[in-house]
């Protein structure tokens, strides 16, 4: 599990400790579900490359 209090300590503006306690389980669950999906990533053109080409075309 991520130490969300440590992560929060590094960013501003502050996030109150009680808020971190409230949202930590949600964040862990959200990330867990994402990790289940990352195995799907195959040979896809990455979104930032697509955007870079579109910007050149304009």
């Amino acid at each position: 599990m991520t130490d969300w209090k440590a992560v929060a300590a590094a960013i501003a503006p502050d996030i109150p400790e009680e808020q971190i306690e409230r949202i930590a389980p949600l964040l862990d669950a959200m990330r867990g579900r994402l990790f289940e999906q990352t195995g799907r990533i195959g040979k896809v053109t990455e979104p930032c490359y697509i955007q870079a080409v579109q910007e050149m075309e304009q």
């Binding site: 969300w4 992560v7 929060a8 960013i11 503006p13 996030i15 808020q19 971190i20 409230r22 949202i23 949600l26 964040l27 959200m30 990330r31 579900r33 994402l34 289940e36 999906q37 990352t38 799907r40 990533i41 195959g42 896809v44 053109t45 990455e46 979104p47 304009q58």
Partner: protein, 452 residues
């Protein structure tokens, strides 16, 4: 009365825009209990209605929206008028320009009578706004109207205006349409300009109308669709003819009815209503094809990562004003700030993979039919719902069938398809291929006609 019926009355002189607008403003005030509006534009609307009547008398008619009273959600910038996004953070925000949508409604002759109430910052589905009060569902005022475009749905369902614009990041047009018993369409990504809309998100935001009929939604989208050079995400794909006409046919059309996910863990009467829609579609000559859809739950999870990260990035300049942000919204915004950048990037990469997987559905069918929501409108203040014996967070339940479609970018409409045992509306969602809004309207209008 629908927009097209009102347009007929205006055309043959049985009504004037001034009368319709006066009636609309009076109805809004009479139903102030719904709390559907954040701003009324009485004098401006009445003056505009008189102008539209004068134009008509001189022989100039701009189209079916000419002289029709409408409203826009308070995310659309309006020149010289407050645009708050339902938040005190923006209480003093008075833009010096109109959103593209407002410009286009204006060019089409519509009369904007006010700006509708919404979930705080468009970041939620209840429209129970901690700063400006809850919006009430006109069908049962103890219930939520859904959100975030709750005021727009309530205003249309209660006959306060003929159309109200909404925005949809994870179902915020379709869900309130379903809960209030109106039509609501989320068009394809890039179809309607986002210029001048206060954003919640970059990837997922879409703009569209809520109306009392499918044809009304089509004529409004006709007025709004098209390329806008001021919006980098605007599409150059030309708009087609959207109005399906009075008697659309769907013979031979292949409509997918998912055999997984969409009919699982839902209210019994919602399942019954959607299966009845499928039966009617078959009666009209469509072919109902059972389809297995890829992992929608996975798509929804990834969508929440994208939304959390993008919404927090957008709102970062305001996040030190915690006292001006409601508890639930603040929790979402704090979550987005703590997510690592790697998660956001991987979520976007997974989105691309999902798009490829889901696009294969179009090899089998032309449209997909699903419930819009697994349930009918929960009570105001409820945080959990019990659906088929399982307790679930209201927000997760309500968006289960709509959220992922924003990640795919496809057009999707919600139409009313009956009521539950308590009389609360049920919505059916029809999803189409990218930029096939015309097809979506055709199927939806045919079904609307069959549903009666």
């Amino acid at each position: 009365m629908t927009i097209l019926e009102a347009a007929e009355r205006l055309a043959d002189g049985r009504a004037s825009s001034t009368e319709l607008t006066t009636d609309s403003l009076a109805a809004i005030k009479r139903r102030s209990d719904l709390n559907a509006f954040l701003l009324l534009m009485d004098e401006a609307a009445e003056a505009r209605a008189r102008e539209m009547d004068r134009e008509r008398a001189s022989g100039k008619v701009r189209g079916p929206l000419h002289g029709i009273p409408v409203a826009v959600k308070d995310v659309f910038c309006t020149k010289g008028l407050p645009t708050t996004c339902g938040s005190p953070l923006f209480a003093d925000n008075v833009p010096d320009y109109d959103a593209a949508v407002v410009e286009k409604l204006d060019a089409a002759g519509a009369v904007i009578v006010g700006k509708t109430h919404m979930h705080e910052l468009a970041y939620g589905v209840t429209s129970n706004n901690p700063h400006y009060g809850a919006v009430h569902n006109p069908v049962d005022t103890t219930r939520i109207p859904g959100g975030s475009s709750g005021g727009s749905a309530a205003a249309v369902a209660a006959d306060l205006v003929f159309m109200a614009m909404g925005s949809d990041t994870g179902g915020s047009i379709r869900l309130p349409a379903a809960y209030c018993g109106t039509v609501g369409i989320k068009p394809t990504t890039g179809r309607v300009s986002r210029y001048g809309v206060m954003p919640l998100d970059f990837t997922l935001d879409h703009m569209g109308p809520l109306t009392r009929s499918v044809r009304d939604a089509a004529v409004v989208l006709q007025a709004l669709a098209g390329f806008d050079p001021r919006d980098d995400s605007s599409s150059r794909v030309p708009a087609s003819e959207y109005d399906p006409g009075p008697s659309p046919t769907i013979g031979g059309v292949r409509i997918g009815l998912p055999s997984n996910f969409y009919l699982e863990r839902i209210q019994e009467d919602v399942e019954f209503a959607v299966r009845e829609v499928a039966r009617l579609a078959e009666e009209l000559g469509a072919k109902i094809v059972p389809v297995r859809v890829p992992d929608i739950a996975g798509l929804n999870s990834v969508s929440r990562i994208v939304l959390a990260a993008e919404a927090s990035a957008l709102m970062l300049p305001h996040l030190h004003k915690r006292n001006l942000i409601g508890r639930d919204t603040m929790a979402l915004l704090d979550q987005g700030r703590l997510l690592p950048a790697t998660d956001y990037i991987n979520a976007q990469r997974v989105r691309r993979t999902f798009q490829e997987e889901f696009a294969r559905v179009w090899n089998e069918v032309d449209f997909v039919l699903t419930p819009t929501a697994p349930n009918t409108a929960p009570a105001i203040g409820d945080t959990e719902v019990d659906i088929a014996g399982v307790k679930e967070d209201v927000r997760l339940a309500a968006t289960r069938f709509v959220r992922g479609i924003n990640m795919l970018g496809w057009p999707a409409i919600s139409i009313p398809c009956g009521t539950d045992a308590g009389g609360l509306p049920i919505g059916a969602q029809i999803i189409g291929r990218p930029f096939d809004e015309a097809g979506v309207f055709r199927v939806a209008a045919a079904l609307e006609g069959a549903l009666g």
